[in-house]
Amino acid sequence: MIHKFKIDDVRIVLDVNSGAVHSVDELVYDILEHYPSKNEGETIKLLEGKYKKDEIKDAIQEIKYLIDNEMLFSKDTYINNHDFINRKPVIKALCLHIAHDCNIRCEYCFASQGDFRGDRSLMSEDIGKKALDFLIENSGNRRNLEVDFFGGEPLLNFDVVKSLVEYGRKREKETNKRFRFTITTNAVLLNDEIIDYINENMDNIVLSIDGRKEINDKMRYAVNGEGTYDIIIPKIKKMVEVRKDKSYFVRGTFTKHNLDFAKDVLHLADLGFKNTSIEPVVAKPGESYALQEEDLPEIFKHYEELAREIIRREKSGKGFNFFHFMIDLEQGPCVIKRLTGCGAGSEYLAITPQGDIYPCHQFVGDEKFKIGNVLTGIENKELGLSFKNAHVYNKEKCKECWAKFYCSGGCHANAYNFNNDINIPYELGCEMEKKRIECSLYIKEKLNME
């Protein structure tokens, strides 16, 4: 299977099963419209009016070389891969819902303004420690373990965060594990002391902001209705300044209200942030801010514009990262990771303040998806198995999709929310993901051409 696309003067051909990426001229691009489903003679006839016969023949020889060397139309040999079939996932990451409460109200919040459709509550130190023990006990031989302090707003329960980091450091020495702690915060409660602590103890920080002031403040406001932009900007700047080269992301959400979200990404870059992410909102179709199919052309246009601007800035020494355009063609994840995806429900779990276990943060609050509790362990093993088996070969739409090794079947929660089935991907999300992959490859080629 191949996928080919054109943006501006760049024509890319992707060999899906090997991951090979080629930049081709117009002639090869045209030949691949017909060849090899039509033979060489038929292809020449079809294109003779536009190109010289010898040129077409030459180009077909080049295509044949790539086919012979498994860089074009290569076969999918992974479905029977021994390690894929026999993989036994262990739990390696937790999303700790340290606070089911929030100090701001975001209109699009999937956590129902922080309480996840339940009572507002904070995780106790005891439940948090039990969660870390549960992770260690269920992680098999895996050494690197990840814990994200999440909410609601985790800074509302920061003393427990600190206790758990301390406990984790003690336990990792005893067990030869390594905890990577991360935190996702709206930044409102950041102060010098917290900034220093986070900088020292967190492997990654996700700081939430949607971009331009008017865009951010329309969706992210305090309990009194006032926008958060002016409160958080100095704090995020301080955090990033202290952070220097250590990992962080300034992350936001775009909705139907800002289909020109590229401007928000660039706004964040203009503020000096080097690691940015603005993601499409996930919302029920009836919501005024929900993205719809009719918005796709506009969204695609802005992804392309963003890609062009990223290239310009990179060339002028003002480059920055946009999370969804980051792609590593040489040292990215192995194909088994790409087949199995995010690992929700099998490698990655979310823990509520009460210790309840869910497949991921997006399912929290929906009792049907409760897998167990850290005090009693996993009770619904079948649910975990159904998530383990929700890989690209079990998703009809993914089998024939060229992007399957990049998105790995997409987000289970999106699939469930839109199609009531974790095995039926969320179509709108698929279309946007495909566009982002094309833009990433376009950027690679453009920077490579210089």
Binding site: I12, V28, A93, V206, R338, C342
Partner: protein, 46 residues
């Protein structure tokens, strides 16, 4: 080659031999909490 320039010869086939050690980061823990992007994760078993 005159008509084709290869940006990457592809790493997927070779990566299948490594067997998926699983030490890599969980994709949702990085910067996306609402959309799945796997291809930008780094392999930790190079």
């Amino acid at each position: 080659m005159k008509h084709i320039r290869t940006l990457s010869a592809g790493t997927l086939k070779k990566s299948a031999e490594k067997g998926g050690c699983g030490e890599c980061q969980t994709s949702c823990q990085s910067a996306c909490k609402t959309s799945c992007t796997v291809a930008n994760q780094e392999c930790e078993n190079r």
